[in-house]
């Protein structure tokens, strides 16, 4: 019972972290119709910048400044890269961001080298907040939860209570109409791209110390962010939130409990083959849930795309 | 009386709460040239989309030569001999004019999904394509990418693609929209020429074109047909006058 609670908290942390990435990505997608493959790369840049800043000015300045830099870089990418490619259509746009992801990874390796950076949790937060049945919950995780929720609330406020937010909201549903109404759509695009990438930057800053700051960090997270927004429904902020939490909890619980495939198969009435060691399906029978925990989201995505292509909360077919 | 070419029975369509088509019954006979007219927002294009299964109807049925089309996909309806054009030019912009037309011929000539035939080895295919290009006066543009043609030429190509497959029911959605006078005349001429002996259903704004071409006219207002009949009868119908035509007809006369 206690373990369930602990897992709920852990899954929440993972899910909220994922949400910070997917929120920006889904906003960008709704506005511009482009899936930004380089989104996780901005997350990585956030972590690296924050590390660099934290050496000189400490963790908190890193948290403040790094997302700003990332956001400005993101806006620059939109202004000078994506906008140019936009005229060629969506596929080149997607391919552009794909190339950008490769390039950013190379760039990071060029500047910081290939090793993991010793970017660590600030001392103020380096203690155990509380423990549940011997499982300590680090204070930093609580901090991550608060930051993510604060950002979600802030985002919700901006989107629903401010003028800019209204325009963006309108653009989510009626992109062309907003343009027709005479709003400076390119500027909104740049802004949304900048904010979206800055959000990814924040995620990088706070995830870097716990998940590691290394050149492969974007790749590890990259495609899972896509999976999240596809499951949630492209363009839906709530969908992104629900899907993020869903993925966070599914993977956490799958890892925490050793559910063996043989048990499931036996449970539904298929007996284990007698010659398990030589059977062609032996690998299927010996699969356990922790083994496949991190590919569960992909299975979920393929299922969703087959049966409900617009995603859980999506309204528009892409 | 023979089976009508196209038959609409109690066709309805709602988007959410908005009812766009509110029960349309219509019969169009074989070889008839029928025009659907009506003010903006009356649901003319929606009606077209319902007939060709671009949208699924909320209620009601469409019959082609007496055969129920419910549940069929657009490509299946096309194979049954119904072909349409679009209000917004809808061609293959990156392919040549020649290929645009040839693609429209492939299914009709029985090539289906074959990958054992080479398209340019078939003389029949090339010849019929060229014949259609000739009909729509685009032979000179044969090898240009379709996207580079002028607007009127693209409209002509659109009509060419629509009729190429040899369908006997042709539906044209505003074939002269956005055209100059001379272009309109050119297209009207073309339509008369290529739909010879076929059933034609068209949506059109230009009353000149309508009265030139149509054997019968239906007037669609707020999702309902308020009148159907010979051009002269419709012209005289007071309800039509009131709802829509009044001014237009006066200027026309």
């Amino acid at each position: 019972m206690e373990l369930i609670l602990v897992n709920l908290i852990d899954g929440l942390v993972t899910g909220l972290l994922l949400f910070m990435l997917s929120a920006g990505l889904t906003l960008i997608f709704s506005m511009m119709g482009v899936l930004n493959f380089a989104h996780a790369s901005f997350y990585m840049l956030g972590a690296y910048f924050a590390y660099q800043i934290s050496i000189a000015l400490g963790f908190w300045m890193g948290l403040l400044i790094a997302p700003l830099i990332v956001g400005i870089m993101g806006a620059g990418v939109e202004r000078y890269g994506l906008r140019r490619v936009h005229q060629y259509g969506h596929v080149p746009e997607l391919i552009f961001t794909f190339g950008l992801a490769l390039l950013i990874e190379e760039l990071v390796q060029f500047i910081w080298g290939k090793n993991q950076m010793p970017y660590s949790v600030p001392d103020v937060l380096n203690f155990t907040a509380f423990a549940i049945a011997g499982n300590s919950i680090p204070a930093y995780k609580i901090f991550m939860i608060f930051i993510s929720i604060a950002i979600f609330i802030g985002l919700l406020y901006i989107l629903t209570r401010t003028r800019v937010g209204m325009i963006i909201q309108a653009a989510l549903s009626y992109p062309r109409t907003v343009e027709a109404l005479g709003h400076n759509v390119p500027l909104i695009f740049m802004g949304v791209f900048g904010v979206g990438t800055a959000l990814a930057g924040v995620a990088g800053v706070i995830a870097g110390p716990v998940l590691g700051t290394f050149p492969g960090m974007a790749f590890v997270l990259g495609s899972i962010v896509f999976v999240t927004i596809v499951i949630g429904g492209l363009g839906s902020l709530w969908g992104a939130l629900v899907a993020s939490l869903l993925i966070g909890w599914i993977t956490t619980f799958a890892k925490s409990y050793n559910i063996a495939m043989s048990d499931i198969l036996n449970g539904i009435g298929i007996p284990s083959p007698a010659d398990l060691d030589t059977s062609a399906f032996r690998d299927l029978w010996t699969v356990t849930s922790p083994q496949i925990a991190d590919i569960l989201p992909y299975i979920l995505m393929v299922m969703i795309l087959i049966f409900r292509p617009q995603g859980l909360f999506g309204k528009r077919q892409s | 009386m023979s089976v009508p070419a196209l038959q609409l029975e109690g066709l309805k369509k709602s988007f959410g709460k908005a009812e766009i088509i509110r029960g349309v019954d219509l019969e169009i006979g074989r070889g008839e040239r029928h025009a659907v007219i009506g003010p903006n927002g009356a649901g003319k294009s929606t009606l077209f989309n319902l007939i060709t299964a671009r949208f699924a109807p909320t209620e009601g049925k469409v019959r082609l030569h007496g055969e129920d089309l419910s549940g069929l996909q657009p490509f299946q309806i096309n194979r049954k001999g119904l072909s349409r054009s679009f209000q917004i030019t809808n061609i293959f912009p990156r392919m040549t004019v020649f290929e645009n037309v040839r693609c429209a011929l492939l299914w009709a000539q029985g090539y289906r999904y074959s990958f054992w035939n080479l398209v340019n080895r078939s003389r029949q295919l090339t010849e019929s394509t060229d014949a259609i290009l000739d009909q729509i006066n685009l032979s000179e543009r044969r090898d240009l990418p379709a996207g580079t043609l002028s607007y009127a030429e693209q409209r002509a190509l659109e009509i060419g693609i629509t009729i190429a497959g040899g369908a006997d029911v042709i539906m044209l959605d505003e074939p002269t929209a956005g055209m100059s006078h001379s272009e309109t005349d050119y297209i009207t001429e073309l339509i008369l020429k290529v739909t010879e002996g076929k059933t034609l259903v068209m949506v059109e704004h230009d009353m000149g074109v309508v009265f030139n071409l149509a054997d019968r006219i239906s007037v669609l207002v707020y999702g309902e047909i308020i009148a159907t009949g010979k051009p002269a009868d419709v012209r005289g119908d007071p309800r039509v006058q009131e709802a829509y035509l009044g001014e237009a007809l006066e200027t026309e006369q």
Binding site: L35, V85, Q87, Y88, H90, P92, L94, I95, F96, F98, G99, L100, L103, E106, L107, F110, I111, G113, V227, V230, D283, L284, D294, I295, Y298, I299, M301, V302, L305, I306, P309 | Q73, P74, F75, N78, R79, S83, N90, F92, P93, R94, M95, T96, E99, C103, A104, L106, W107, Y111, R112, Y113, F115, W116, N117, L118, V119, D143, L144, P145, G147
Partner: protein
């Protein structure tokens, strides 16, 4: 010759430049002739290349190139011709290859037929997988297709380390090609034998894929790519057209996988993973999706970058990434598009106009770029080389990377080179317009 500068404005303004922003515009346009000449030239080239490069490593690199050529062409059946963006195409080649490897290891069966037939089995298995996946993934194009391909790709790649029986885990599956039935006495012991086997398959597959693009379903793939809705109103189901393209692409990808199995005699998880899928996308786009021969160029250039440039510099991936992003931004038609931009000028017989401006702009630009690369390499050396190791060699010139002079020289070369290129660009642009303008001025 007397009034050279008098021009007829009405005639000279008739531009027939290809719009570079619409690379695929010319795809399938014109040139429908099934001329044999390019194929014969290709076959002869393939046959004589080993006499030019006799070393085994050159053969190995060329083998890799031709395998990539087949794979990239197969990929372009989706991306270029069918408008389907796949992020997981490596799995079809991979599964085809794994199947071939298992056949190689089934010694009795394997010994009963000659090795050159083996790739067909790879193709069939690739096709089989494509049949299954295509049955649900081709219902729609665009994002949904791309995401399903990503998901399925990840799933199969991930299961490669779990399903050890078929994929052999991380070590993969290996075999020995020489156990096949001797083919006219040849046991394919040497690289050169394998080279000719692969060359044969390159010609055959490329020709088949070219012919495919000329069949009704191949033509309709283009139509569906451009306008799926219109295609539906022509009697073709966009879904089934995509499905057939997808299955055919899976077949040829499987052939590439089979050849991989023959050449390397080992298949691993690497043949399935997303990185491989990403690379083939990169290769194809770099070469140009708008032309049939684009992927061929892409495969050749990328293989050279990967195997040759990586011998020269650790930063090869950085340069490759830059090249790729620059291509997407400035030449979305890829290298093939870049080449075909010159066709109008050749047709007008005015290509000669371009030679001098090109020399004036491109050579300084190339030198300037090399200067930039030198700066990049030096920065990298200063940051990451061993302390005290200040000696480095660039372009066969050894020097001290911590001294000021090399930096000044490299910066000067970069600045001057790019400066000249910039200064001469307007002249190039004028020449370009002139060369592409019908009507003569001279």
């Amino acid at each position: 010759m007397t009034d050279t500068n008098v021009k007829d404005p009405a005639r000279s303004k008739e531009q027939i430049t290809t719009d570079p922003s619409k690379p695929a515009q010319r795809m399938g346009a014109g040139s429908m002739t099934l001329t044999l000449t390019p194929w014969l030239i290709g076959a002869v080239l393939l046959a004589i290349l080993p006499f030019v490069f006799t070393s085994n490593s050159a053969l190995t690199i060329m083998n890799q190139m031709w395998i990539t050529v087949i794979f990239a062409l197969a990929y372009n059946m989706l991306l270029g011709q069918g408008g389907m963006l796949s992020f997981g195409h490596a799995v079809y080649a991979g599964v085809g290859g794994f199947a071939c490897m298992h056949i190689m290891n089934a010694s009795d069966f394997f010994a009963s037929f000659p090795l050159p037939v083996l790739p067909i089995f790879g193709g069939l298995f690739g096709m089989g997988l494509a049949l299954i996946v295509g049955s649900f993934s081709t219902r729609s194009a665009g994002t949904v297709f791309a995401m399903i391909s990503l998901g399925v790709g990840e799933l199969i790649a991930a299961s490669s380390v779990i399903v050890v029986a078929f994929f052999g885990g991380e070590e993969g599956i290996s075999g020995d090609r020489t156990y096949a039935m001797p083919f006219f006495g040849n046991e394919f012991l040497q690289q050169i034998d394998v080279y000719y086997l692969i060359s044969f398959w390159v010609i055959v597959s490329a020709a088949l894929m070219y012919l495919w693009s000329r069949t009704p379903v191949g033509r309709m793939a283009n139509a569906v790519r451009d306008n799926p809705e219109r295609a539906e109103f022509l009697g073709y189901s966009a879904r089934w057209v995509r499905f057939y393209s997808f299955v055919a692409s899976g077949f040829f990808a499987g052939i590439a996988g089979g050849l991989f199995a023959i050449n390397y005699e080992i298949l691993t998880e690497e043949n399935l993973n997303t990185a491989s899928s990403g690379i083939i996308l990169l290769v194809t786009f770099l070469g140009g999706v708008g032309f049939f021969f684009g992927p061929i160029i892409g495969a050749i250039v990328f293989t050279l970058v990967q195997t040759v440039l990586s011998l020269e510099t650790d930063l090869w991936a950085f340069y490759a990434g830059t090249l790729f992003v620059a291509t997407v931004m400035f030449f979305p038609g890829g290298l093939a598009g870049l080449m075909m931009m010159h066709v109008p000028a050749f047709k007008l017989g005015k290509a000669g106009y371009l030679v001098r401006p090109y020399i004036r702009t491109l050579i300084p630009a190339a030198i300037g770029t090399l200067g930039l690369c030198a700066l990049v390499e030096m920065t990298f050396h200063v940051r990451h080389a061993a302390t005290g190791d200040t000696q480095m060699t660039l372009f066969w010139i050894p020097f001290d990377s911590h001294a000021i002079l090399p930096w000044v020289i490299a910066a000067a070369i970069a600045l001057i080179g790019l400066g000249i290129a910039r200064a001469t660009t307007p002249a190039l642009r004028d020449a370009w317009n002139e060369a592409n303008t019908a009507g003569d001025r001279s």
